[in-house]
């Protein structure tokens, strides 16, 4: 019995189930491609932005990362995500203002460094618990701000708040547990850095699924529609026949 003869019925079944789901959710192949591309861009950019933030933020234990470094790191990641989302948002400025404001709020609450710190305890159970708690707080704070940026465009945009909180709780807990285990195994603090890279990868991927799903359910007829920027519209109008614009 060959491998293909074994896998063929499974893939058939899988494809069949997927096509049923696509019909139920009224998904077109173009939507799937656009969604996958957006997810890939969001996930890659978020993770890369975090990795690059390590050039100017030194990971440390709780209390060792300054609020300024963490705020810079947070805004850096926020802006990079905004670059990806911008064409898909009806009000992209709202999103970035909300994100930056959320980070500043997290600064005031001394929570802004959660993505760049690790707990001092080597106990993996405690690390997991702290990760869920602190990750949840950060996700909640960011979700609240970003909900304001999404609500005019997305049906039931409030769903982003618990979704984001859950994703951050899972991501940070994963980062701190993996990091603690790797640090204990290698004897190097580098293990914590790898743990955070893994955790941020999870946050990036899961939040990517969430945001694509929400944007797919955008209000109006367009799903995952790309909006032209205001400057593009102005330029386009100025090129229209009869325009007196010197541009």
């Amino acid at each position: 019995m060959s491998l293909s003869s074994l896998s063929e019925p499974i893939t058939h079944q899988l494809a069949h189930r997927l096509s049923i789901l696509c019909k139920r959710w009224n998904l077109q192949p173009a939507d799937i491609t656009a969604g996958a591309l957006l997810w890939l861009a969001w996930t890659g950019t978020t993770w890369l932005a975090f990795a690059l933030s390590l050039l100017f933020v030194e990971i440390g234990e709780t209390g060792e990362v300054s609020w300024l470094e963490a705020a810079l790191g947070g805004c850096w990641v926020g802006v990079s995500r905004w670059l990806v989302l911008r064409p898909y948002l009806r009000h992209p400025t709202r999103w970035i203002i909300a994100t930056v404001a959320s980070w500043l709020l997290l600064v005031l609450l001394h929570l802004c460094a959660v993505g760049w710190v690790v707990p001092g305890t080597p106990n993996l159970l405690l690390r997991g618990g702290f990760g869920v708690l602190y990750g949840g707080y950060v996700g909640l704070g960011l979700g609240l701000g970003q909900w304001w940026g999404l609500r005019s465009q997305v049906h039931q945009a409030w769903r982003w708040i618990p979704l984001n909180a859950g994703i951050w709780a899972i991501g940070i807990a994963l980062a701190w547990i993996t990091g603690g285990w790797l640090r204990a195994a290698s004897g190097l603090f580098l293990g914590e850095v790898v743990g955070l890279l893994i955790g941020w990868g999870a946050i990036a991927a899961l939040s990517g699924i969430g945001i694509v799903g929400l944007l797919y359910e955008s209000k109006g007829e367009d799903k995952l529609k790309r909006y032209p920027s205001s400057r593009a519209l102005t330029a386009a109008k100025s090129n229209a026949p009869g325009s007196k614009s010197p541009y």
């Binding site: 173009a30 656009a34 591309l37 861009a41 950019t45 890369l48 690059l52 933030s53 050039l55 100017f56 030194e58 990971i59 440390g60 234990e61 060792e64 850096w76 802006v79 990079s80 670059l83 990806v84 064409p87 690790v118 290698s186 004897g187 190097l188 603090f189 580098l190 914590e192 850095v193 367009d222 529609k225 790309r226 032209p228 920027s229 400057r231 593009a232 519209l233 102005t234 330029a235 386009a236 090129n239 229209a240 541009y247």
Partner: protein, 480 residues
């Protein structure tokens, strides 16, 4: 300023789009726009990071001057192996500023490693066609990193002694070894390679060098910055080899306002070597045509080769002093018995003759009893009566992380024995992700112990110190 601002805001600019861009279908142009924005964003981030981390101070040049000998030597080796400091745009300034902030006062940056120079060397360029390690040159846009490091170090009141890490050692596949195989010395069986020798077996038993820890595999190779598989040894008796080393030393002490230079345990001849044709003919000429013993560990044969090396040290010292009278010739060997038996470095003699100005003995031991045993040896006490002797302490490698507790204990024991100071191997394991503790925690620990001014070494570092002072242990700790 305006151009800087325009670079920073460039990623957020939106180029004018034609009206058809409003169509919902994704457009390649939009994708390009996003990609360009992303690249711009990353570049802007790197620019911010560079501005954030590199001080303007790095741009000014240092004047030649003489730094007073520090009360307690607190040195650090900076190498290119398993280290990014020399290869990141802001690595040097970040390292020097942090070291100064934490009360360090001496740096030993690598200038000679794996057959490549880490400064612009005309002597090496004539031989190999490469004046400086290519990757280093590329990362510094053709600028000289040693010049930057000297300027920054003096600005921060740090002594700088460029370190000829590889001494007579070269990778067998290096340009130098390939072009001049006659410069290499050989073992009894004719092999030019040090691999699988008696020496390495002895090393693992008796002492530790990071090279012996080199392991295989992609990750290991990456972290060891492509450590060479096979090591050869330049013949210290060969006139052309001596000329090359003297020329390189002269370049460093005359072109840069350094405080001295340093060689280490690789400025030696492993006991198994010395059976090359040049050395054999030299030996025969001095022994009525008799060949040297087949046993490389023969006492007289060791003595003869060690004396030849000592003669070169005398020449080297004279050359350094002739070209830069204020420059120190520093040596960082293994403990005396080991250094002589296995590397033919008779550094006790070198110290007695006054050819060495500063000694940093590598005491890389995990066991504190062994560490103490080395510190108590006669050779160290003898040397510290004549010149400043400091203790080389291993702060870890990526394969062998060392806790700060052990480092602290070794610093305290060295201080208790009234040595001139301590030097740490190496920068990247002082405080980084390659340590058991977090970088901030390690910095805090070093700050605390280096600000603990218990060191009465200033009185000890002069050659005029009397034997009576030596016997007055334990001495009282003095606060400065």
């Amino acid at each position: 300023m305006r151009s800087l601002l325009s670079i920073l805001i460039w990623p957020f600019r939106t180029r004018a789009q034609p009206l058809k861009a409003q169509q919902p279908k994704p457009q390649p142009k939009q994708f390009r726009q996003f990609r360009q924005s992303l690249i711009g964003f990353i570049l802007a981030g790197c620019l911010i990071a560079a501005c954030w981390l590199s001080p303007a101070a790095a741009k000014s040049s240092a004047q030649p001057r003489i730094l007073n000998a520090p009360a307690e030597i607190r040195g650090v080796w900076i190498t290119n192996v398993a280290s990014g400091i020399l290869f990141s745009p802001w690595g040097i300034s970040r390292a020097i500023n942090q070291l100064a902030d934490l009360q360090f006062n001496t740096v030993y940056p690598v200038v000679w490693n794996r057959g490549k120079a880490f400064y612009h060397s005309d002597a090496l360029e004539k031989l190999t066609g490469q004046a400086i390690a290519p990757l280093l040159s590329w990362m510094h846009w053709g600028q000289d990193p040693l010049r930057e490091m000297v300027a920054l170090s003096h600005q921060q009141n740090l002594r700088i002694l460029p370190w000829f890490e590889y001494g007579f050692m070269v990778p067998i596949k290096s340009e130098l070894a390939q072009q001049h195989p006659d410069w290499l010395t050989t073992r009894r069986n004719g092999s030019r390679s040090l691999t699988d020798t008696l020496i390495e077996n002895a090393l693992t038993d008796d002492t530790f060098t990071p090279e012996t820890e080199a392991s295989k595999g992609f990750l290991a190779n990456l972290l060891n910055s492509g450590a060479p598989d096979q090591i050869a040894w330049l013949n210290p008796m060969h006139p052309a080899v001596q000329t090359l080393l003297l020329d390189m030393v002269e370049e460093v002490v005359t072109r840069y306002p350094v405080d001295g230079i340093q060689f280490d345990d690789h400025f030696s001849l492993p006991v198994e070597f010395g059976y090359d044709s040049y050395t054999l003919s030299l030996y025969r000429a001095e022994h009525l045509g008799q060949p040297p013993p087949d046993n490389p560990a023969d006492e007289d044969w060791i003595r003869w080769r060690a004396d030849k090396l000592s003669r070169f040290v005398e020449i080297l010292h004279a050359r350094v002093k002739a070209k830069c009278p204020t420059c120190q010739l520093s040596l960082s060997p293994n403990p005396a018995k080991f250094a002589y038996r296995f590397y033919l470095q008779d550094w006790r003699l070198w110290v007695k003759k006054g050819w060495i100005d500063d000694l940093v003995v590598q005491v890389y031991r995990d066991d504190i009893a062994q560490f103490d045993g080395e510190l108590g040896k006669q050779a160290l006490q003898e040397a510290s009566d004549r010149i400043p002797v400091s203790i080389g302490i291993l702060t870890g490698t990526w394969q062998r992380p060392i806790s700060f507790e052990q480092i602290k204990q070794q610093i305290e024991h060295s201080r208790d024995r009234q040595f001139a100071g301590v030097s740490f191997f190496y920068w990247d394991t002082l405080w980084s992700y390659f340590t058991p503790e977090s970088p901030a925690q390690r910095r805090q620990n070093f700050r605390a112990i280096l600000q603990d001014t218990r060191s009465p070494t200033a009185t000890k570092t002069t050659a005029t110190k009397t034997a009576a002072a030596k016997t007055s242990l334990p001495q009282q700790h003095v606060s400065f």
